[in-house]
């Protein structure tokens, strides 16, 4: 089944409480995906020359402080590194997994109940411009932290998915030849990798998602995050649910309206069901 949520702030007030809002939305979708939960937040950009790494450690006693200035969230930490330091540190500590990397993205995911996830990762205090979340009911691959959503296969890009893909094995082989790296056997990771490839080849987010309609076989509702924006796409059959809503202060999408009902001013929002095979994109001014 799975549940997905996305929130794009259009006001300072919503930006300041982005983590709290997304956490509340995620909690509402816990019944749709009790296996695992994950969240990606887009926050203040890293200084020039530095990249934000969201790292996962299976060791509860991980010495994060040794990596420098680390913002720790349960089993994850967000660390600012330049390319050389990142390469050295990750070689020194091969047990660390890079969950995401980019100028603005920060990502956490874990194979635990979504409500517990929200509490354990301290989402309430996190500000940001936009974010995505996912609650997982696994169908295609194992219930592990690596198999939880969102999936990030390129800088600042992430994807959450409700549905399943049928041609992911063949597509993964093709994308590997294009130089896209995969960490799991998961179908959703292939969709994220496909977008990374198309964006690298110069497609706009809109064009990359339109290409998904041609090349991906299966059913899906996707929510996609980039450094500047947020997009939604449903497959042409639209088996998987989605609802969107917009006010002057935010744009939101979720698998079900009850996840949107927790947002301020939801009762007055314009609410609609996104059309099948239509790309919806919201973008802010690009990061300089």
């Amino acid at each position: 089944m799975c549940g997905i949520v996305g929130l794009f702030a259009k006001s300072r007030e919503v930006e300041d409480h982005l983590g709290a809002h997304l956490g509340a939305m995620l909690g509402q979708m816990a019944d749709r995906g009790p296996d695992s939960a994950g969240i990606a937040l887009y926050r203040e950009p890293a200084p020039d020359g530095m990249t934000k790494y969201s790292l996962y450690s299976p060791d509860p006693d991980e010495d994060w402080a040794a990596l420098g200035e680390a913002e720790v969230h349960s089993s994850h930490a967000v660390v600012l590194l330049d390319d050389a330091d990142a390469e050295r540190l990750l070689a020194e500590r091969p047990h660390l997994q890079v969950v995401s990397a980019g100028r603005r993205i920060e990502m956490f995911k874990e194979a635990i109940d979504p409500r517990e996830f929200v509490a354990r990762f301290g989402l309430d205090g996190i500000a940001g411009s936009h974010g995505l979340g996912h609650t997982r009911m696994a169908t295609e691959s194992k219930v592990t932290t690596a198999g939880a959503h969102p999936f990030s296969t390129g800088l600042d890009l992430c994807l959450v998915h409700n549905g399943s893909l049928s041609n992911h094995n063949r597509l993964r082989q093709r994308l590997r030849r294009e130089g896209i790296a995969f960490a799991t056997e998961n179908d959703t990771e292939v969709a994220a990798g496909f977008l990374t490839w198309r964006l690298r080849e110069g497609d706009t987010l809109q064009a990359a998602l339109e290409r998904c309609l041609v090349e991906l076989d299966g059913f899906y509702t996707f929510a996609v995050g980039t450094a500047d924006g947020f997009a939604v796409l449903r497959d042409p059959i639209a088996c998987k649910p989605a609802v969107m809503a917009e006010t002057d202060a935010w744009v939101a999408m979720a698998s079900e309206y009850r996840a949107i009902a927790v947002l301020p001013g939801a009762e007055q929002a314009r609410v609609w069901e996104p059309e099948p095979a239509q790309v919806y994109v919201w973008e802010r001014e690009p990061v300089a």
């Binding site: 639209a238 649910p241 609802v243 079900e256 309206y257 009850r258 927790v262 609410v271 059309e275 099948p276």
Partner: protein, 231 residues
Amino acid sequence: MTVAEAVETVDLASTPLRDLNARLHAADVAPRWRVLNPAGAHAVAVGLDADVEVDVDGHVGYYCAGMNKRATVRVHGNAGVGLAENIMSGRVEVDGYAGQSCGATGRGGLIVVRGDASARCGISMKGVDIVVCGSVGHMSAFMGQKGRLVVLGDAGEALGDSLYEARLYVRGSVGSLGADCVEKEVRDEHVAEIRELLQAAGASGVDAGGFRRYGSARRLYTFDKDNAGSY
């Protein structure tokens, strides 16, 4: 205020949904109800079997008014997937949009959607009447066996695929017709039927003559190997 006019008010922000549905199922159920703060909850006012009126203030989730019998349920907001699924009789109205599979397998009664209905509206309808003031999505009335679907706006792709005897009336454009669904002549009796349904739906200002009729070509009722490509 007389006893007959009293309205039972239930606030779902403070009352569990099961309490509401249990009270609506009670043998001595009150005749009028108002439900506050549904907040997208699923299964609001399902399984009613009494001459009651229920007004829901806000948006509901899946399966609202499912299996409805005799009751009138009005949603003053939007409805999620499966509004009035398997409705038997009575009336279900929604002011906003209805999600996928509105009125699925419905056997009787009337559903009125003031906004749009999404994909698969009236899928496998078996006698229900559905009036949609906006448009319906793809695969609407799929395998419809009986009943009438009136669409004031447009219909999406594959309208009436594998249709049996449900009658479809669309005022706007049709994305495409599904297998074995064909346009048919609109005769006086059909205009009268549309007028009656519009009136019942409270949309009597609409010209009943402005609709086109679609129905089954009856070529797929029983398997014929010459039609294998159409299934």
